[in-house]
C-alpha cells in the first residue's frame, strides 16, 4: 500500500496555486469460481487497478481516470482532468474535503487467511455447496450455478488539502441458485453466505436457504387482489432500506429531488421507526474507516422515533445545504467521482422475531423476494410497486405459496404503516442490514 499512497501523493503534489487536486488509487485482486454438475465451469483470477484524478480550479470541477497504475498515465489523467475542469460551470460549492478532526474508527477489515487460501480449497467450497443443494431435497431439479467469489481491495487517497489515507479489506462469498420442480411446476431460490475470511462462511446455511426458498414456493399460484399486511423477509427489508437511503441523500434533498425535501424534524414514520447509518460497526460488511473523500466514517442518525433527524452528505452536498460532510462520500471505483451514499444502514430492532410477528397477522403476505425495484420504485414521488412472491398468512399461520403478484403503496405511506420491526437482525452484503418488517395497508395485485 505505500506504493499506492506514494503514487497518489506524487500526482496530488502537482497542484498549482489556487488549484485543488484529489487522487484516488485502487487495486484489487479477485477470484471467481463457478461449478456445475461437479466440475469447474469457470475459474477467473484477475487483478485490476486504476487512478481517478479530480481537479477543482476557480470553482470548476473536472475528472479523469486511467485503468492502470502507471505514473505517466496518472499524470496524463491529471492533464485531462484540468482540461475538463475548464468547461464546467463555476460552482461556489465545489471543493475537496478539508480535514475535520474527526478520528476514524479502528477497524481491521483485512484477513491474511484469505490471501493465502489455496485455489483448490476455494473450488472445493463451491463443489461442496452445489452437492449440498442437490442433496437437500429430491425436488431440486437443477443447480444453475454455485459460485465462490473473493476479493482483496486496497485504496489510497491523497489530496492537495492534506488528506492522506489508505485502507484495505478482504471479502468472500458463496452464492447458489437452485431450481425446484414438481411435475410441470418450477420455482427458484437462491442462498448465500458472506464473510471477510473463508472461516466466516456458513456453507450449510446458504445451501438450506436456497433449497427452502425454491421448494416452499412449489405450487404457488397467483392470488386475488387484496389490501393486506405485508411481512417483509429480512433480505427484502434490506432492499427497501437501500431505496430509502437514496431519498436521504443530502444532495438529492438540497436539489429538491427527494420526497423528504423540506421535511426535516417532521414525524415521517411511526414511533418504532429508528434508522441509522453506522459504518463504524465492524459487524457491517459496509464498515469502513474513511469515506471516499478520505474523511472519517461516523455513525449518522437519520430517523429517530419516526422523526426525520438527518441526511447524508459528502463535501459538496454539505456545502450546498449549508452544513458539513457527514463522512458519507461513496464511489464506485476509480472511474467515478464521489457521490453520496449509505454504507451500513440499520433499523433499531424490535422485540419479536419473524414467527412471532407472523402469529399476530390475521391476513397477510410473507414477502420472500421482490423484483423490478429499478423499474417500479420512484424515490422522488415515492411511488412503490414491485413484483413479489412468498406465502400467504392466514390467522397467524403461513398458508399457500403465491407468485406473479405485485405489492404497492408509496414510501411515505409505508413508513406511517409499519406495524412491527423484527428482532432478527442479519448482517448482509451491501449497504443495509436485514430485519423482518411488517407493514399494513399494502395493495397486493393479482387476479
Amino acid at each position: 500500500m505505500p506504493e499506492l499512497l506514494g503514487l497518489a501523493r506524487r500526482v496530488a503534489e502537482r497542484a498549482t496555486v489556487g488549484e485543488e487536486v484529489e487522487v484516488y488509487v485502487a487495486r484489487g485482486r479477485e477470484t471467481s469460481i463457478r461449478v456445475f454438475e461437479g466440475a469447474i465451469e469457470q475459474l477467473t483470477a484477475a487483478e485490476s487497478a486504476g487512478v481517478g484524478v479530480r481537479v477543482i480550479s476557480a470553482g470548476r470541477q473536472g475528472f479523469s481516470y486511467v485503468g492502470e497504475l502507471d505514473g505517466f498515465a496518472a499524470l496524463e489523467a491529471l492533464r485531462e482532468a484540468r482540461d475538463n475542469a475548464t468547461f464546467a460551470t463555476v460552482d461556489e460549492h465545489a471543493g475537496l474535503a478539508s480535514p475535520d478532526g474527526v478520528e476514524p474508527p479502528v477497524l481491521d477489515l483485512w484477513r491474511q487467511e484469505l490471501v493465502s487460501f489455496p485455489t483448490d480449497d476455494k473450488v472445493a467450497l463451491a463443489l461442496d455447496l452445489e452437492r449440498r443443494v442437490r442433496a437437500g431435497d429430491p425436488r431440486i431439479r437443477q443447480v444453475v450455478s454455485a459460485d465462490y467469489l473473493d476479493g482483496l481491495g486496497e485504496e489510497a487517497i491523497a489530496t492537495s488539502r492534506g488528506i492522506e489515507v489508505t485502507s484495505r479489506s478482504t471479502g468472500c462469498y458463496l452464492f447458489v441458485q437452485a431450481v425446484a420442480g414438481d411435475g410441470d411446476d418450477t420455482q427458484t431460490g437462491f442462498g448465500y453466505s458472506v464473510g471477510r475470511a473463508p472461516a466466516d462462511l456458513d456453507i450449510e446455511a446458504a445451501a438450506v436457504d436456497a433449497v427452502d426458498r425454491a421448494t416452499r414456493l412449489l405450487g404457488a399460484k397467483k392470488a386475488r387482489s387484496a389490501k393486506l399486511t405485508a411481512v417483509l423477509d429480512r433480505r427484502v427489508t434490506a432492499t427497501l432500506l437501500g431505496i430509502l437511503s437514496g431519498t436521504l441523500s443530502g444532495e438529492e434533498v438540497a436539489k429538491g429531488r427527494s420526497l423528504f425535501t423540506g421535511r426535516m424534524g417532521e414525524q415521517v414514520g411511526v414511533d418504532e421507526l429508528t434508522l441509522i447509518d453506522d459504518p463504524t460497526n465492524p459487524l457491517a460488511y459496509g464498515a469502513s474507516q474513511h469515506d471516499a473523500e478520505g474523511l472519517a466514517c461516523r455513525c449518522n442518525s437519520l430517523i429517530e422515533g419516526g422523526e426525520l433527524k438527518g441526511f447524508l452528505y459528502n463535501t459538496y452536498a454539505g456545502r450546498l445545504a449549508g452544513t458539513s460532510s457527514t463522512g458519507s462520500a461513496v464511489r464506485g471505483g476509480f472511474r467515478t467521482t464521489p457521490g453520496v451514499g449509505a454504507r451500513a444502514l440499520s433499523l433499531q430492532p424490535g422485540r419479536h422475531d419473524q414467527a412471532e410477528i407472523i402469529a399476530e397477522v390475521s391476513e397477510g403476505f410473507l414477502v420472500q423476494s421482490i423484483t423490478g425495484v429499478h423499474s417500479g420504485v420512484n424515490p422522488v414521488s415515492g411511488d412503490f410497486s414491485v413484483g413479489a412472491e412468498g406465502l400467504m398468512i392466514r390467522g397467524g399461520e403461513l398458508a399457500e405459496p403465491v407468485r406473479e403478484v405485485t405489492i404497492a403503496s408509496t414510501i411515505q405511506r409505508m413508513l406511517q404503516h409499519i406495524v412491527a420491526v423484527g428482532s432478527d437482525v442479519e448482517w448482509l452484503p451491501g449497504a443495509a442490514t436485514g430485519v423482518t418488517l411488517a407493514i399494513d395497508d399494502i395493495a397486493m395485485s393479482g387476479s
Binding site: L43, G50, G62, G256, S385
Partner: protein, 472 residues
C-alpha cells in the same frame, strides 16, 4: 505463422498474438482466445442548471480464456506487453493442468465485416459543443412550464476498439463508437413531486444530433413529468393493456428474450427449453434479434468473440424457431454461434446476450387498436424490467401511462410495475400495429451490463396484472 495484418494490431502485435495463443494451450486445452480492448470514454453531467462535471478516461487491457472440456479458465490484464499477456495466459491455462485434448492451432486470418460508418468521431468535437447541448437541454426543459423545478441531463460518448484472436485461426476487430444523451425532469404540484425522462442513444458519432435534436429529448422529459402531476394511482388488478411502439419492446426482452438465451436453455433453467417448433406466442408474433441492424444501440459489426452479427429469427408467426448462441454453447450443440457472445469489457467472460431484439410490425392501425379497447391501460413509456427465466415470471415498469375508457385515452396514471408470465403474455397478444419504433436500453445479466435495443409496433395484450393501488 502467416497473418493478414488487421487494423488493430497496434493494440497487440500479430506475432505476439500467435505466441500467446500457443502458450495458452501449451499444457493442453481445446480452445484459447485473446480479447484485447482499448476504450476511451467521456461524459458530462448537468444538474441544477450547472455543468457539474466533465469526466473522461481510458481503459486498455486483454482477457484471455482457455477452454478445457467443459471448463473455462480466464484471466485479464491491463498490461498489453507480451510479458503481461503471457502471465495472463499462464493464469488462464491453470485449469488445463490435468491435460486436455491437446494443442490444435490454426493460422490466424482476418475475417470481419466493416464497423459501422461514423462521420463525426466525438473525440474531434470540442468539449464546449458537448456542454452546449446540455445547457440547451436544461433551457428547453425549464421553459416547458413553471412546474419544472429540477432538471438533470447527461451526455456520454465512447470509442471501444476491440481485437479478438483465437486458436481456431480467427482474427477480427471492431471499432465501436457510441453516443448518448438523457434528460430527467422533476415537476412539482399539489400532489407532490413527479419525474419524467427521455433518452437518445445510438451506435453513431456526434452526427446523431443531426437527426435527433436535443430540444425534442428535453421537451419529452418535461412533458412526462408535468403530465403526471395530475395522475391518479394506477389500478390494481388484471386489465387489457395497449403498449405504444418503442419502449414496449422491453416486454419481449423480458418475457422471452432472456429465456431464449442458450446458456439458460442448456442448463434447463428456461421455460423455453425443449420447445423448438412449438407454438409459444399468438399468431402474427415474429421476434427477431439482429445485431447488424443499422446504428441501433445494440448493434455491433462482430460480437465479442469475433463472430459477425446477423439477423436471427427466434419466433416465426408464433412458432419458436431458434435460440441465441455464443461460441461455447454452440460448440456443445455442434452448431455455429449466432453472433450473440458479448461481454461488458476485457475483464469479463463472454456469455449469450441479446443485441437488438424486436417484434416485427403487423397490419393494424394503432389508433384503432386503442379505439377497440373499451377499458384498459395505454402504456406510452416503459422504464425497465426483470425476469426469472426458470419460471417465466417477469415485471416491467410503466413510466408514462393512461387509462383507456370507452376506446379513448383519458387520465394519466402514476408509475407502477406490471407483472406477467412470459408464455402466458405472448399468447395473449391479440392486436399488432403497423407502426414500429426502437428503444435503447442497458441490459444487466450476471453482473455485466451491455447496450441493447428493443423494439415493437403498438400492440395489445388482452390481460395483464397492473400493480397499482386503486381498484380496477
Amino acid at each position: 505463422m502467416p497473418l493478414t495484418v488487421g487494423p488493430l494490431t497496434d493494440l497487440v502485435e500479430a506475432p505476439t498474438l500467435g505466441r500467446v495463443l500457443h502458450e495458452s494451450l501449451r499444457r493442453g486445452g481445446d480452445f484459447a482466445e485473446i480479447f484485447a480492448e482499448d476504450c476511451s470514454s467521456s461524459s458530462i453531467f448537468l444538474d441544477d442548471s450547472k455543468v457539474e462535471e466533465l469526466s473522461s478516461g481510458r481503459d486498455r487491457g486483454a482477457g484471455i480464456r482457455v477452454v478445457v472440456g467443459e471448463t473455462t479458465g480466464f484471466a485479464h490484464t491491463a498490461d498489453l506487453s507480451e510479458k503481461g499477456l503471457l502471465t495472463a495466459a499462464e493464469a488462464a491455462a491453470a485449469v488445463a493442468r490435468e491435460g486436455g485434448a491437446g494443442v490444435r492451432e490454426a493460422p490466424l486470418s482476418r475475417r470481419a465485416p466493416e464497423p459501422h460508418q461514423v462521420t463525426t468521431y466525438p473525440s474531434t468535437v470540442p468539449k464546449s459543443a458537448k456542454v452546449d447541448l446540455l445547457l440547451l437541454a436544461d433551457d428547453t426543459a425549464r421553459s416547458a412550464g413553471g412546474a419544472i423545478v429540477q432538471v438533470s441531463a447527461g451526455y456520454g460518448d465512447s470509442r471501444r476498439r476491440i481485437l479478438v484472436a483465437n486458436s481456431d485461426g480467427l482474427l477480427a476487430s471492431d471499432d465501436r463508437v457510441r453516443t448518448r444523451l438523457f434528460v430527467t425532469c422533476v415537476a412539482s404540484g399539489d400532489g407532490g413531486l413527479q419525474t419524467g425522462s427521455h433518452s437518445l442513444a445510438y451506435t453513431l458519432g456526434f452526427e446523431m444530433f443531426d437527426d435527433h435534436p436535443v430540444e425534442e429529448v428535453a421537451r419529452q422529459a418535461a412533458r412526462r413529468a408535468i403530465t403526471k402531476l395530475d395522475a391518479r394511482p394506477a389500478p390494481s388488478g388484471v386489465l387489457p393493456v395497449v403498449l405504444k411502439s418503442g419502449t414496449g419492446g422491453i416486454i419481449f426482452h423480458e418475457a422471452c428474450g432472456h429465456g431464449l438465451e442458450a446458456d439458460h436453455i442448456l442448463k434447463d433453467s428456461s421455460v423455453y427449453t425443449g420447445r423448438l417448433g412449438q407454438v409459444v406466442a399468438s399468431r402474427g408474433v415474429t421476434l427477431v434479434d439482429d445485431g447488424s441492424l443499422g446504428p441501433n444501440w445494440g448493434s455491433l459489426a462482430i460480437d465479442d468473440e469475433g463472430r459477425p452479427t446477423q439477423r436471427n429469427v427466434l419466433i416465426q408467426d408464433g412458432v419458436l424457431t431458434d435460440y441465441m448462441w455464443d461460441y461455447l454453447r454452440a460448440r456443445k450443440e455442434g452448431r455455429t454461434s449466432s453472433g450473440n457472445g458479448r461481454r461488458q469489457s476485457y475483464q469479463d467472460l463472454p456469455m449469450v446476450r441479446m443485441t437488438n431484439t424486436f417484434l416485427l410490425a403487423g397490419n393494424e392501425d394503432p389508433d384503432e387498436i386503442v379505439s377497440q379497447t373499451p377499458h384498459g391501460v395505454y402504456v406510452a413509456q416503459l422504464g425497465g424490467g426483470q425476469v426469472n427465466t426458470a419460471t417465466g415470471d417477469f415485471v416491467f415498469g410503466m413510466t408514462e401511462a393512461y387509462l383507456i375508457e370507452d376506446g379513448r385515452i383519458t387520465e394519466p396514471l402514476r408509475n407502477a410495475n406490471l407483472i406477467g408470465n412470459g408464455p402466458d403474455v405472448l399468447s395473449k397478444i391479440d392486436a399488432i400495429g403497423d407502426d414500429f419504433e426502437m428503444w435503447p436500453g442497458t441490459c444487466g445479466k450476471d453482473g455485466q451490463n451491455v447496450s441493447v435495443g428493443c423494439g415493437q409496433p403498438t400492440l395489445r395484450v388482452t390481460g395483464i396484472t397492473i400493480g397499482g393501488t386503486a381498484s380496477a
